[in-house]
């Protein structure tokens, strides 16, 4: 009897484990397209007030992406190219392309609460984390993601709320190594684009005492999944070529 019981417990935890993995995998598959074009607005709120950045992005898988800033006027034409783990920036005002050095990877990207590294990293939750189902209802699930021992991630854990039917996350809470909350990401306004469901609003809130007032909100205005994007976007020449 004891044997049977322990067998069931092991089996069920195994099942739970795989179910959690399945859910996360479904979410990632849903969000990732072979190609994606998007026009978005990023609203950065900080101690000195609010500002809006508008941009377009073209991406292929999650190794290549190209971003162009449209607004504010001052920044218009600034382009970013990301190939694998490297990132370049072109600034039309000075007509220069520079490669973002490793020492800058953890600096803020465009003054937002995202770092350059956030923009570059092909962090796959399935690859880097072990998923465990914490709770589940018919429509939603809460999953705990613990980094795999050798995953190069700074987080201690991530708690993800998933909308199961739409295969999108609704909330992600990031913890540091001491299991203190560091930042919260929320996702809302889910819309269907071709075969993908996408939350059109993403908001990031850092929880460090110093950054209490900060937040970064990304609003997708136009999304196009699965229309092939010309390879010319993913070369260093594109930085200048597509700048205006």
């Amino acid at each position: 009897m004891r044997y049977l019981l322990s067998f069931i417990i092991i089996l069920s935890s195994f099942l739970y484990g795989s179910e959690a993995d399945d859910i996360i995998k479904a979410v990632e598959d849903n969000l990732r397209g072979d190609f994606m074009y998007a026009k978005m607005r990023m609203i950065v709120t900080g101690q000195r007030g609010e500002r809006t950045i508008e941009m377009e992005s073209w991406s292929q898988g999650d190794t290549k992406s190209f971003i162009k800033i449209l607004y504010p006027k001052k920044d218009r034409g600034i382009t970013f190219l990301k190939l694998d783990t490297q990132m370049w920036q072109y600034v039309p005002k000075i007509e220069r392309t520079i490669k973002i050095p490793p020492s800058m990877m953890l600096q803020s990207w465009m003054g937002s609460d995202f770092t350059n590294d956030d923009m570059v990293k092909e962090s796959s939750m399935i690859k880097d984390y072990n998923a465990r189902l914490i709770s589940k209802t018919a429509s939603s699930a809460t999953i705990e993601l613990l980094p795999k021992p050798n995953a190069a991630v700074v987080w201690g854990k991530i708690i993800v709320d998933v909308d199961i039917s739409n295969k999108v996350p609704t909330k992600e809470i990031y913890y540091d190594d001491q299991m203190q909350k560091v930042r919260i990401m929320t996702f809302s306004n889910i819309q269907r684009h071709g075969s993908h469901n996408l939350p059109m609003i993403m908001e990031l809130k850092p929880l460090d005492a110093e950054k209490k007032k900060n937040s970064t909100k990304i609003i997708f205005e136009k999304v196009n999944y699965d229309t092939p994007i010309d390879a010319s976007y993913f070369s260093k020449n594109a930085l200048k070529r597509y700048s205006n």
Partner: protein, 409 residues
Amino acid sequence: MYKIAFDLAWKSLIRRKTRTLMVIMMIALSLSGLLFLQGLYDGMVSHMINTSIRSDSGEISLYAKQYRLEKTIDYHIDDPRAIKAYLHQSKEIDAYAIRLSGEGLVATAHKSLGATLKGVRLEDERRFGDFDTFLFQGKFDFGPKKQEALIGFKLAEKLKVTTGNRLVFTAQDASGEINAISFRISGIIKSGNLAVDEGSVFVSIETMEQFLALPNSATQIALRIKDKSQVNSIQSMLQKKFSTLDVLRWDELYPLLIEMRDMMDIFNWLSYAIVFAVAALGIFGVILMSILERMREFSIMMAIGTPYKNIRYQVISEAFIMAIAGYIIGAILGLGFLVYTASSGIDLRYYQAGLESFGLNAILYADIRYHYFFQAFASVFFATSLSILWPLHVLKKIKPIEIIQGKML
């Protein structure tokens, strides 16, 4: 005959015991002070040299040419196996450590800082420089899967991390790709070598080779030489043998330390010179006085046929009995200070920040070396000899008859 002179010297010292004691105390106290200072300063410098050798350079280090200048992994030693095999069989070399280092960024969920990631073998480092004794907190271990790291204590302070915390290290690999790797902190290192304490993270060299995509490579091979007097000749021998590499001695890698040691030596000699020049004056005063006081006595002795050299012997004996007594008391006192300071140390934790910013321990330990006592003896001997020259000259010019008649003095 000399025995009588010696007895007389002894008696005269006892008769004027106040001034005898003053001279002995003067020699003893200043000598013990000097010994203490010398040991303390030597202790400081040798501590710094020692930690630099043990935590980094060894007596000799091998680098790829250009590496010292550019500090990038583009300049690494390819395939150190042949060198390793050679070092292994070499009788002159006590231990060696092969390291593969890369510069990059170390980050937590809150903060990131520039740092050096050093791939090492702990077993080699232990043999190389008792590196495990630098462990300040935690374990001296990279864990079963080599995913743990040791971190310098100042860096840990700046990142606000401790053992058990996770770090992510980002760096460019050999092909220019930016990669990241994570470690859990197993231990915190406090070595006294600023480069180590402020900016180094130690991980297993195998992990590092993979991370940098540099299998079988090294940026530094540090050697411990058995016979320290052979360092120079071994260096030139190694340089000939490995002509494509830079072969550098520790004092070439840390020129400042050797400068400091030289400065301290000069300072010590200068202190001895000045203190004993003054002390000689003190002895001189007492001896001259005692001669002048006893002119009549000496004159009578000479008049009854005592040879001049006996009287001279008596004066010399007086001076040296005081000097030797002073030396013995001073040496014992100094040794006491030194033994105490060498074992218990002087606690300067109040000034911790300042001392550590200079690579010194907050508790200072003295060195004790034989040569201190020889040097001290030589100084006392020299000062005493010097101090009696003039009094003896005065003594020699004695005209016994005139003095007895009261014409002199």
